[in-house]
């Protein structure tokens, strides 16, 4: 007989995995760096948090550690994808040709601290 918390944990982990797969799928399908980052960040953050909490629920002694991991992921993952997006833009990776608006470019030129996008 499997305990109820183990079942919940398994379900959480399965959901997490599903989101991760979706994120990976988005990474392949979406057109440019920025759109891909969107998909990757959201799905992978939630997926990883879900897996961590799933592990914590299934094995209650690990719950505090799992919570710390979840918080840390929540804090750092968006920062990392922000860093990648910013660096990509500043080193000249173009937006997808179907993009409708780019107010960032002008702002960079205006502020003059844009480094040198070639």
């Amino acid at each position: 007989m499997i305990a109820i918390n183990e079942i919940i944990g398994m379900v959480l982990m399965a959901i997490g995995l599903l989101f991760q797969v979706l994120g990976a799928f988005g990474l392949i399908r979406l057109p440019d760096v920025y759109n891909r980052l969107q998909a990757a960040t959201k799905s992978i953050t939630l997926g990883a948090i879900s897996i961590a909490i799933g592990v914590g629920v299934a094995e209650p002694t690990l719950l505090p550690k799992a919570l710390i991991v979840a918080f840390f992921l929540l804090l750092t993952n968006p920062i990392i994808s922000h860093g990648i997006a910013r660096a990509a833009y500043r080193s000249g990776v173009p937006l997808w040709k179907g993009s409708v608006i780019d107010q960032y470019e002008k702002a960079l030129e205006r502020s003059g601290k844009g480094g040198d996008p070639q």
């Binding site: 989101f19 979706l22 994120g23 799928f25 988005g26 399908r29 979406l30 057109p31 440019d32 920025y34 759109n35 980052l37 969107q38 998909a39 960040t41 959201k42 799905s43 953050t45 939630l46 002694t61 505090p64 550690k65 919570l67 710390i68 929540l74 804090l75 968006p78 920062i79 994808s81 922000h82 997006a85 910013r86 833009y89 937006l95 997808w96 179907g98 993009s99 409708v100 608006i101 780019d102 107010q103 960032y104 470019e105 702002a107 960079l108 502020s111 601290k113």
Partner: protein
């Protein structure tokens, strides 16, 4: 060293909490070691922590919890949004970078706001220039640019103005 007593106190308490969660033990040796480690790390590092602004403590705690509820909901919505866009055969996307002007002034608040924006449906924060935030939006709505940061500007602003 003691220019920011609140930050010092908070960092020591939070570090101690993290220590207890890591060790998952209330043995006296662990607690002594934890106090030593978190006090010394707190004293050494509290001055580099982001500035959080001023406000009423009770309402800040309330809004902080509210923030987490909203964030959780938005994250789940965001994932279904991603799933929809990725799995839809035509890929309904209309990407672009827009400029918004949040009212938040504190560093901490700006950090949380941009993180929350990255995790919510269809948006990714790119950069802060002066007091403007630039957001990569997967489905641009030209008319109502502020809707890209809709749920958070107010809540975060209440916690870290």
């Amino acid at each position: 060293m003691l220019k920011r007593p609140v930050a010092l106190f908070l960092s020591i308490v939070l570090l101690m909490g993290a220590w207890l969660m890591l060790t998952t033990s209330l043995h006296y040796q662990e607690i002594i070691a934890g106090v030593l480690v978190s006090v010394s790390l707190g004293i050494a590092l509290h001055s580099i922590l982001p500035k959080a602004g001023k406000g009423n403590t009770i309402s800040r705690i309330f809004y902080f919890l509210l923030f987490f509820l909203v964030l959780t909901k938005e994250m789940i919505v965001a994932n279904f949004d991603v799933a929809y866009r990725v799995l839809h055969p035509k890929m309904p996307i209309r990407p672009g970078i827009v400029e918004v002007r949040p009212k938040i002034r504190s560093d901490m608040g700006r950090l949380l706001l941009s993180n929350a924006i990255t995790l919510t449906p269809g948006t990714l924060s790119m950069d802060w220039i002066d007091d403007r935030l630039y957001i990569h939006w997967i489905n641009v709505d030209d008319k109502n640019v502020d809707s890209s940061m809709e749920p958070f500007d107010k809540v975060v602003g209440e916690v870290f103005p």
